[in-house]
Subunit: 379 residues, 2 copies
Amino acid sequence: MSTLAQLQTPCLLLDEIRMERNIVRLRDRLSRLGVRLRPHLKTPKCVEVARRVMDTPAGPATVSTLKEAEEFARHGVRDMLYAVGIAPNKLDRVASLRATGINLSVIVDSVEAARAVIATARATSDAIPVLIEIDSDGHRSGVEPKQTELLAEIGRLLHQGGATLMGVMTHAGGSYGCRGAAALEAAAERERAAAVACATVLREAGLPCPVVSVGSTPTAHFARDLTGVTEVRAGVFVFFDLFMAGLGVCELDDLALSVLATVISHRRDKGWIIVDAGWMAMSRDRSTAKQPVDQGYGLVCEAEGRPYTDVVLTDTNQEHGIMAVRSGSSRELPDLAIGDLVRVLPNHACATAAQYDRYHVIPKGSGVVSTTWTRFGGW
Amino acid sequence: MSTLAQLQTPCLLLDEIRMERNIVRLRDRLSRLGVRLRPHLKTPKCVEVARRVMDTPAGPATVSTLKEAEEFARHGVRDMLYAVGIAPNKLDRVASLRATGINLSVIVDSVEAARAVIATARATSDAIPVLIEIDSDGHRSGVEPKQTELLAEIGRLLHQGGATLMGVMTHAGGSYGCRGAAALEAAAERERAAAVACATVLREAGLPCPVVSVGSTPTAHFARDLTGVTEVRAGVFVFFDLFMAGLGVCELDDLALSVLATVISHRRDKGWIIVDAGWMAMSRDRSTAKQPVDQGYGLVCEAEGRPYTDVVLTDTNQEHGIMAVRSGSSRELPDLAIGDLVRVLPNHACATAAQYDRYHVIPKGSGVVSTTWTRFGGW
């Protein structure tokens, strides 16, 4: 047990109560909609968080790197979907993990990638499970739902070539650009409809498609109906962040992650307080710059967690954060002395957490830190 | 020895020949100007790079975190300046390091911070060396040169209070916003003049000021005269990056760092190739967005390092990079297959390198990687 004042700044605080509330909220929601959660562990990259968010200690789970798959496998997670288009040069690592009994599935969106998977499946006599990635909103990779011939061709190739065709998956990343509940509901329905339509294409071609996997934090929270979907993937919901609050997916007091920082300088002439949390501590993520309320490099709170009104990190250097009143506000900066602590809520939990190798866990939302949980990075 | 094709992507490549050329270039320049280099190790955070850039294995060097000071101390670096305003809650760690014989100096820009340093100096009977931080261009912390009374007050407090007043230091971070050689030369002269003027204030107050420390990569490369300056600090010059190239401080073929990535998907309808280097691999840094040539999340090159014309990462997700022809260009995307490798030059070397725990070193600019050098992060 230590108090916030005993921590070295900058460091990453995790409010366990808020995290658990966020997890319960999505679990309850998906349970009512009748689908399973396959949480995306790319956000926490931490075994202790993974265990709290997964159905069982063995999964299911989603990962964004093979490093995550390997680390979580070492800690007992056995059912994982690697949800980034598989590169041929990563198939050896996939095969090695699978050879240890880990049920790791991969995704493809092309004939070329399907051929590479099949070659490994044959070489290792292992029917690697594969999902076909669908592009439901044009934001990055995937087969488009209208490319029905290509979809069936990839499906047949996998099914007949020695892989296990598991089904289809899509991620409505475009939902991050939505405004308002109606737009988010529509994005969720577009995501569902695209995945289900593609599953139908496969099934009508006589191919198996037991899995219909969709998900993003915004669509998972706004979907009204998930008929035909078997699982939902979401990651950032476990912590939430200013971007998700700006999108209307959560409230500010749902944000479970913050950066603890110390005041190191005053520039009263400029209306600045300088803290020791720069972009290395916050990440360079400025996602909220595209939203109606730009939160700078982060929204500043009292050490105990209550946000100051209109005080943000307006700019950062590597190890310096410039705290100032938001442009257009008539508020004043809080009266803080050199050495005083503040907390800063991040734009994007995945990016900010990635700057740290541990979480300092606050068990009851109080100023006492109970323990640290390790997180990892890399590939 | 391994070839690029044997590496797991994304990974960080370091061209040793370019790095050494960058080091020689700045060393020669400062030698002609008659000042010592105190390299900023916040960019590499790597012992092997540190040894190549420092005068001696013991230093001198500059650091941006106490973690850097502790790590480099473990590897024999003994003369370090911690160039971020000292927070009172970090003085115990400073004292512990100094108690092991490390000559670590700190900076202050206020009476409050000076008092905190003095309290520790007295409590530990150790005359901690301190520089007063000067604000030479209004970009973040520091005493302004016109605040001559405050400057002398802080100086007297330190000198009489049990610390060792070493002098003044400033960082012309504003130079990052300059356009053209004349503006950069003027920024360098402003930086020098501010530091020297403040040194004069201290000396005229009867106080010691043996050190006059200035520096930033742009001003270090454009200063025409450094009369009165005793040392220059610079960090990113060791690797350079797209931002520095855009500023005119280096050429593209001076960039020593790049990210190796693999093609994972094609979206020919959209004019996209998708690679496995997203913002986690490149960082969220978009510094060049403010420059005349916006390089997106990075400039894409052939695997062997030659840049494609007008091909950049126009957008990224966590583990996806979208490669496309720069807006307004009539060029076409290169013909790449799933599994092909590319290299991506980063906006900002400090931010991109921070996403990795090692450098893969290319000793002769060739496609063969000789060894890996560990880098660290954290605080």
